[in-house]
C-alpha cells in the first residue's frame, strides 16, 4: 500500500489529516505498511507550522478476550448498554399502564417494537462513537467515548458493521408495528429517525446547538411512549403522556450529566451543549430542576388520577438522584475526578425509576377497588 505524507517511527505513524491514508486508517483501524496491515488507533492531533494537521497513529494491538463473559462485557460497553434504559423503561411502563386499564396488548408487535427501538438506539450509540472518533473528538485522554478503540477491543470498521446490522434489524423489527398502524408508526418513526440523524449531524447537530436535551426529552419521552402505545394497543392508553414526561426528564438528566462532565472538552471544540453554554453551577441547578420536575409531574399525575397512587413507588428513585445532585454541587468542577461514574449513576436512576414506576402501575391492578 502506497503511503503518502507519512513518516514512520518504531511505534508511531504520522499522517496528514485529510489524506486518503488517514481517512482509511480512521475508518478501518488499519494502516498498510511494508510489513502488511498494522492495527492502529488515532492517538494525537498536531497542528504543524505549514498549517496542515497531522494525526499520530499508534500501534493498537488487538487484545483477545479471555472468555465469553469478557467478550460479552466488551460488547455491552461498546453499545453503552447502561443507556438503553432510556428506551426500554418508557415502553415497559406504557405496557403496564395499558394492562392496568384493561387493554389487550398486541404482544408480538409490542416485543418487536421494543426490540426495534433498542436496536435503533444501539445503532445511534455506535455511530455516534465512530463519528466522534473519526472527527478526532475522542482521542485518548478525552473524557467521552466508550474507549473500545483505544483498548484494542474493536476496530472502527467492526463497530460500523455492528451499527449497520443493528440499524437494519431495528427497521425490520419495526415492520409488524408499521403494518398494523402504518400512518401513525410512519409519523412517529420519521420523527424518531429525524431526531436520531439530526442529533449528531455535522452541520445541524442538535447536540452541538444546545438542543440535545430537548431532543432527548421528546424522543425518549412523549414521542416514544405515544409511539409505543399506538404500536402495542392501537391507541393512547391512560398515563402515556405523564409517563413520557417523567421518564423523558430522567433521560434528559442522564444526557445532561454526561454533557456536564464533558463541558470543557465540548467548549474546546466549539460544541455548544446546554451545559457548556450555561456553565457548571447553573447546570447543576438545572439537573436539580429536572429531577424535581420529574417528581412533581409524577405527583401531579397521581393527584389528577392519570396514574395510580402506587406509581408513587418511583419516588424512591429520587433518593439517589438527590445524592447525585449533591455530589455534583460538591465537586470542584467538570473535570473533577469525583464525577467519575456520575453518568452511570444517572443511568441507574432512570432504570430504577422506570422499574419502580412499572411495578407501581402493575401492582395497582391487584389493589383495584381499594385505596389505589
Amino acid at each position: 500500500m502506497k503511503m503518502a505524507n507519512q513518516s514512520l517511527t518504531n511505534e508511531s505513524i504520522y499522517l496528514v489529516r485529510n489524506s486518503v491514508e488517514a481517512r482509511s486508517a480512521l475508518e478501518t483501524g488499519f494502516i498498510g505498511t511494508m510489513n502488511g496491515k498494522v492495527p492502529v488507533r488515532a492517538a494525537d492531533l498536531i497542528r504543524r507550522a505549514s498549517g496542515e494537521e497531522e494525526i499520530l497513529f499508534r500501534h493498537r494491538p488487538y487484545v483477545e478476550a479471555k472468555h465469553f463473559g469478557e467478550s460479552l462485557g466488551r460488547f455491552l460497553i461498546a453499545i453503552r448498554a447502561f443507556s438503553l434504559t432510556a428506551t426500554l423503561m418508557p415502553c415497559l411502563a406504557v405496557l403496564a399502564s395499558g394492562i392496568l386499564a384493561g387493554f389487550l396488548p398486541r404482544t408480538a408487535v409490542a416485543i418487536s417494537a421494543i426490540i426495534g427501538a433498542l436496536l435503533l438506539q444501539i445503532a445511534v450509540n455506535l455511530l455516534n462513537d465512530i463519528s466522534d472518533y473519526v472527527k478526532l473528538i475522542d482521542l485518548p485522554g478525552s473524557p467521552g467515548g466508550s474507549g473500545v478503540f483505544e483498548k484494542g477491543w474493536y476496530s472502527p470498521g467492526e463497530i460500523r458493521r455492528i451499527a449497520q446490522f443493528a440499524l437494519a434489524l431495528g427497521f425490520l423489527a419495526g415492520v409488524p408495528a408499521l403494518v398494523a398502524y402504518p400512518l401513525q408508526i410512519l409519523g412517529i418513526g420519521a420523527l424518531g429517525t429525524l431526531g436520531a440523524v439530526l442529533y449528531s449531524h455535522d452541520r445541524i447537530g442538535l447536540k452541538y446547538h444546545a438542543l440535545g436535551d430537548l431532543a432527548v426529552f421528546i424522543l425518549c419521552g412523549p414521542a416514544l411512549t405515544v409511539g409505543f402505545s399506538v404500536a402495542t394497543y392501537g391507541e393512547l392508553v391512560p398515563g402515556v403522556l405523564p409517563i413520557g414526561a417523567v421518564l423523558g426528564l430522567l433521560a434528559c438528566a442522564l444526557l445532561h450529566v454526561n454533557n456536564l462532565h464533558d463541558m470543557d472538552l465540548d467548549r474546546s471544540r466549539g460544541a455548544s451543549t446546554l451545559a457548556s453554554r450555561i456553565g457548571y453551577i447553573p447546570s447543576a441547578r438545572l439537573l436539580a430542576v429536572m429531577y424535581g420536575g420529574a417528581t412533581l409531574i409524577l405527583g401531579l399525575s397521581v393527584y389528577s388520577g392519570a396514574l395510580p397512587v402506587s406509581a408513587l413507588l418511583a419516588v424512591f428513585a429520587m433518593i439517589p438522584a438527590l445524592k447525585l445532585t449533591r455530589r455534583i454541587f460538591a465537586a470542584l468542577g467538570p473535570t473533577s475526578p469525583s464525577l467519575e461514574g456520575a453518568r452511570m449513576v444517572a443511568a441507574q436512576i432512570h432504570l430504577v425509576a422506570g422499574v419502580l414506576l412499572t411495578l407501581g402501575i402493575l401492582s395497582a391492578r391487584f389493589f383495584k377497588g381499594t385505596v389505589f
Binding site: 517511527t9 511505534e11 508511531s12 492517538a43 498536531i46 485518548p140 473535570t335 475526578p337 469525583s338 467519575e340
Partner: protein, 326 residues
C-alpha cells in the same frame, strides 16, 4: 546528583548555581529566607531555568536577560513543592530536610506563599505585562492541578483523561511559561507562541509520565511506590488496574490506608506497564521534536537568529529526559 549535571561545557551551567535562586536575606524575614535557602530552594535539576535559558538562546536573547524570570520560575516551582511537602507530610526531599520538617506546617505553608510572592514580585518588576499575565495564568493552572489531584486522593477510579489533565496543569503549565518567556519578551507572533506552548505541553506530559514510571523504580532514589502510599493513582498504576481489574480492591484499600502496603502485581507485570508508560512518554517527546523542527522553520521565516547550538541543546534535553533513570 542531577542527571542534567553531566557536563558544565554542554549544559547551561550558570543555571545550576544555587546563588541564583536564593532569597536575599533582606529586612523583614531573614530567618525564614535563610531556612528556605537551606531547604526547599536547595538541590533539584533546575530543568525549568535550563529550559528557559535554552529557549532564550533560540530567540537570540542572553542568559542575563531572562535570569530574573528563570529565578522566579524556580521559586514558583519550589513554592509548590513546599506546599506539597506539607500536604504529604514529607520529611525529606532530594535528601534534604523539608521546610515543614524544620518548622510547623502553618509557617511552612506561609513560607511557600512568601516564595510565591517573591517570584511574582521580581517578575512584575521587570515591567513586561504579557509575561506577568502569562505567569498569573500559569499559577491558576498550577493551583487547579493541585486541587484536582488532591480531590483524587484515595480514589481508584481515576481515568487517563484526569491524569493527563493533571500532568498538563501541574507540570506542563510552568514548562509552558518557561519556554514562552523569551517569545513574549520579543513580542513573537501567535504562531511562534502556539508552537512553543505545544512543545512545552508535550514535554510536561512526558516528564510527568517518566516521573510516574520512576515511581516504580528501585534505582530512582525515591521510595518505591510512593504515589500509591500517598493515596494517588499515577499512570502506571492506572494501567495496571485497567489490565488487572481483579487488583482494584487491593489497590483501593492501599489508597485508603486500610491495609499494609503490598502491591497486588508481580514485578514482571509492573515492569511491563512501566515500559508501556515510558513508550507513551517517548511518543510525546517524538511529537515535541516535530514541533521543535517546525519552530525552527518559523523562527527562520520570521528572521529570528535561532541559535543552532541552543536548538541542539534543547534536543539534548529531550534525549536526556527519555533516558532518565532518576
Amino acid at each position: 546528583m542531577s542527571v542534567f549535571k553531566t557536563s558544565s561545557e554542554t549544559w547551561g551551567s550558570p543555571w545550576l548555581d544555587p546563588a541564583i535562586y536564593e532569597l536575599e536575606e533582606t529586612g523583614s524575614l531573614p530567618g525564614l529566607e535563610n531556612l528556605m535557602n537551606r531547604s526547599v530552594l536547595r538541590g533539584g535539576k533546575r530543568l525549568r531555568p535550563i529550559l528557559m535559558g535554552e529557549f532564550a538562546g533560540l530567540f537570540g536573547l542572553s542568559a542575563d536577560r531572562v535570569k530574573p524570570f528563570a529565578r522566579a520560575a524556580e521559586q514558583v516551582h519550589s513554592a509548590t513543592l513546599a506546599h506539597d511537602d506539607v500536604i504529604d507530610a514529607s520529611e525529606t526531599r532530594r535528601g534534604i530536610r523539608t521546610l515543614n520538617a524544620r518548622i510547623e506546617n502553618r509557617r511552612a505553608v506561609l513560607g511557600g506563599d512568601y516564595l510565591l510572592a517573591e517570584g511574582i514580585f521580581h517578575v512584575a518588576r521587570q515591567g513586561h505585562f504579557k509575561v506577568v499575565e502569562a505567569l498569573s495564568e500559569t499559577l491558576r493552572e498550577l493551583v487547579t492541578g493541585e486541587l484536582l489531584q488532591n480531590e483524587a486522593r484515595g480514589m481508584d477510579e481515576v481515568t487517563e483523561a484526569h491524569l493527563l489533565r493533571i500532568a498538563d496543569l501541574k507540570t506542563g503549565s510552568l514548562f509552558r511559561w518557561c519556554c514562552s518567556v523569551p517569545a513574549l519578551l520579543l513580542d513573537s507572533s501567535p504562531e511562534v507562541l502556539r508552537l512553543v506552548r505545544d512543545f512545552a505541553t508535550r514535554l510536561g506530559v512526558a516528564f510527568q509520565w517518566i516521573d510516574d514510571a520512576l515511581d516504580y523504580s528501585k534505582e530512582s532514589g525515591k521510595p518505591y511506590g510512593q504515589d500509591l502510599r500517598e493515596g494517588l493513582v499515577n499512570e502506571v498504576t492506572r494501567r495496571l488496574i485497567e489490565k488487572f481489574p481483579e487488583s482494584r480492591d487491593s489497590v483501593k484499600s492501599i489508597l485508603q490506608n486500610e491495609s499494609e502496603f503490598s502491591l497486588p502485581w508481580s514485578e514482571t507485570q509492573i515492569a511491563t506497564e512501566v515500559e508501556n508508560v515510558r513508550q507513551s512518554a517517548r511518543s510525546q517527546l517524538e511529537t515535541a521534536r516535530r514541533i521543535l523542527a517546525d519552530l525552527r522553520v518559523v523562527l527562520r521565516r520570521e528572521e529570528h537568529p535561532a541559535s543552532d547550538e541552543s536548538m541542539a541543546r534543547v534536543e539534548k534535553i529531550l534525549e536526556k529526559l527519555e533516558r532518565r533513570e532518576k
